[in-house]
Symmetry: C2
Subunit: 237 residues, 2 copies
Amino acid sequence: MEKYLTIYHDLVDNISKDSWTETSMLPSENNLAMEYHVSRETIRKALNLLVQDGYIQKVRGKGSVIIKQDTFDFPVSGIVSFKELANKLNFQAKTILHERRTVKADALLKDKLEVPLDKSILKVSRIREFAGEKVILDKDYFNPDIVPTLSEAVCEDSIYAYLENTLDLKISYARKEITVEEPTKLDRDLLDLGNHSNVVVIKSQVYLEDTTLFQYTESRHRPDKFKFVDFARRVRN
Amino acid sequence: MEKYLTIYHDLVDNISKDSWTETSMLPSENNLAMEYHVSRETIRKALNLLVQDGYIQKVRGKGSVIIKQDTFDFPVSGIVSFKELANKLNFQAKTILHERRTVKADALLKDKLEVPLDKSILKVSRIREFAGEKVILDKDYFNPDIVPTLSEAVCEDSIYAYLENTLDLKISYARKEITVEEPTKLDRDLLDLGNHSNVVVIKSQVYLEDTTLFQYTESRHRPDKFKFVDFARRVRN
DNA sequence: GAGTGGTCTAGACCACTAT
DNA sequence: TAGTGGTCTAGACCACTCT
């Protein structure tokens, strides 16, 4: 493992264990460099990651201030769905495969997945159930040049584990757009919406490390089961 | 200005002007270092900012791929409100000062603003109107040790301009939490909610560069006037 | 094999904060 | 004045991609 990542993880551990709690400050970059027997620039790489994740804030002339962690919050930004939250908190979750078939690309898919009109696209539609309630509807569309097919077993288990481990795809980043919309008839039919008169819609385009766009997803959430925490900040380095 | 920032801005300009459009690639880091007469590490700092802002994606062994900009989207992540969007797009916007008074810190404010119970807190409540419709309700609470008072004129104009220019506060980062809630009676009274039965609530804690927490804001949006775009990605550097 | 980005170094100078 | 983080350098070695 790279040195700066090792140091980063070590510092996260120490922050979580409340070392340095009296001062709420990290040791200086020069001291850390000596302790870890690396150059100061390597320490700075590790510290930049801590800044990005909201563990510390640097103050010129003073040092690196440890930011008090709110234990009920999640530290890393961009956790978008109750699904991810459920995974993090080990909630009881169940996935129901609703639909798995090939569709022809319409204008929206042509745009969002950057494929020709009428191209055959694999569509997977799944319902997420938590504590017996159907609260999320996920519709995934995959670029067939990269993901030609997905077995029913894979769809019911974890598509991402299959993509990363079996197809060996390197997923890199996503564009996400969050809006609030009126439920469609399909939302009403498939989800336990009760009296809720809106759904939170997260539309994502997912890219690989080589910048290929390979997936478009529409994730529709019951509004009470949605929460988004933003904690990222720009790092100048 | 720092070299890497100058280079960053220059590269953004060139990307926007569609230089390098044939290959969709930046020149290599070594070439850029020679062109700008700086070291390669300085080029890498500039490129890291481009990655963070979604302008490029780096591919090991190949180079820096320019990411096609969706002109209808906004490039930088974290634009949270119709208000900010309106500013960006020069929409017609109007601010109505609804309330400006001192309140005693309750349990929520004690928590969110990290002040003692019953401390006197300046509260400013404003309504945002776009194209004649009242669509956002902003409630701001300020730590009185940092912002003791705000004139009515400042509240009706721009509080942030006053904080940054007159008080010379350096605003650094914010924790934001986005949820969807039922409208309160106050929401119904003050906003043009029509048939909408939800509001999008953005709760923010805003920090200064010296890590002082100085503001807590609750921003309540009519759901059709809300859109959040997430485009940030982690930069290892 | 040549070129690319990723990591790492040892040193330098600066602006800022503390005392 | 001493210590801090911010910037910048010139060089090195590596893993990877392309041809």
